[in-house]
Subunit: 234 residues, 2 copies
């Protein structure tokens, strides 16, 4: 057995970590292009680091072109570096994410129909029948619904793999821009209504312990949502 070797370790400073957090927030839409960054004093409180470290991080953002200074504030640039993906590329990303969901979700939900105790399946059904009062509440219920199914499949590894894939979709700029764009209100409302119905269908199949019916309901749900999202990416 050969003697093991180790790769070099890089020194990882607080300022670099803060900078990457901010870049991530810009990339996934939490910090919107053209808007002001939170104040340094606010950031150093939230990150729980010294202000000099925050300033160091922000200077790195300015150098890399993610922000510009106007007046006494720092603003996210209108055109974020590396985000001008071609439309084809953005559609491909959404397609790829939904393809991953199509590979994983029906099988996983099928396992839930097979394995989960009745009281767990009943809880899932209760959640599916809850009525959301707006897009933000729907998103919350939607996430809980899917996470509950993942948790109920009795395979923590599969659950984790799926959760990461779902997080990628929810954190993508395509998803955020679709949900919050003012001119998409009607379509978003359609997606919410259609998804609520699909959740109910899925939950009924789960409650009946019917693996095949569950898999079909999940697959249909994914096809519907994916089509609506791709349709709106113009």
């Amino acid at each position: 057995m050969t003697q093991t070797t180790f790769d070099r370790v890089e020194r990882r400073t607080v300022a670099v970590e803060v900078r990457e957090r901010l870049i991530e927030a810009i990339r996934n839409g939490e910090l919107i292009a053209g808007t002001a960054l939170p104040a340094e004093r606010v950031l150093c409180e939230q990150f729980n680091v010294a202000r000099t470290s925050v300033r160091e991080a922000i200077q790195g953002l300015a150098t890399a072109g993610f922000i510009e200074r106007r007046g006494n504030r720092a603003f996210v640039v209108e055109v974020v570096p590396g985000l001008e993906l071609a439309l084809d590329s953005r559609k491909a990303t959404v397609r790829n994410l939904f393809e991953v969901r199509r590979v994983i979700e029906p099988a996983m939900a099928g396992l839930v129909a097979l394995r989960a105790p009745e009281h767990v399946r009943r809880e899932i059904a209760d959640l599916a029948s809850r009525h959301a009062s707006g897009i933000d509440e729907f998103r919350l219920i939607d996430r809980q619904f899917h996470q509950m199914i993942a948790s109920a499949c009795d395979n923590p590894v599969l659950s984790e793999v799926y959760s990461k894939a779902l997080a990628s979709l929810f954190n993508s700029e395509e998803f955020a821009s679709l949900l919050y764009a003012e001119n998409n209100k009607e379509e978003v409302s359609n997606i919410v209504e259609s998804s609520s119905h699909a959740h109910v269908e899925i939950a009924e199949a789960l409650l009946a312990g019917d693996q095949v019916r569950t898999e079909k309901a999940v697959a249909a749900h994914l096809r519907d949502v994916e089509a609506r999202m791709l349709e709106r990416l113009i």
Copy 2:
């Protein structure tokens, strides 16, 4: 749209990073229980950090019980903390990992049969027909074979999700202890032979562009390897 907030950032020192690298190597079998750690001067060269940082990390290992000092060397303890998982729990981990593979791999390989250009499928077949001269070379070919299939499915997200799952299996202590235990030589040889045949089967189905046959060949392969691994976990 609500104003975003950030989670606290922890200060991450070089010594902590080195310590975690060493713990990981102990956990996944690269550093064997009872054997001596590499010398400090060797480690600081490999990690590319100062010796004081390496010493700090090693002191943390000693405090946490991963190593003990005997003579002028540091040795991995015979009983590594947190590694005495119950046998049931270890089998469950392996089962869970293989279940994830069963969800993902047949579908992914099926996509390759559908989508990949012929020259790519031919490359995969060439790799499958290569003869390994030992366990280490087999592991290398095995990894390349599976990674090549993942890359050929034309969905980078799925490919990445799968690669992470595969890495979890290959890095698990169950896998390492099975492959390198002296009393498993014959069984390991059987696994290698059986897997080589299965790879050839899979590659032929891919070359034929037959999605259904590919999915079946992959599923059979996984059932075989899983059964052999679980059988040997005693």
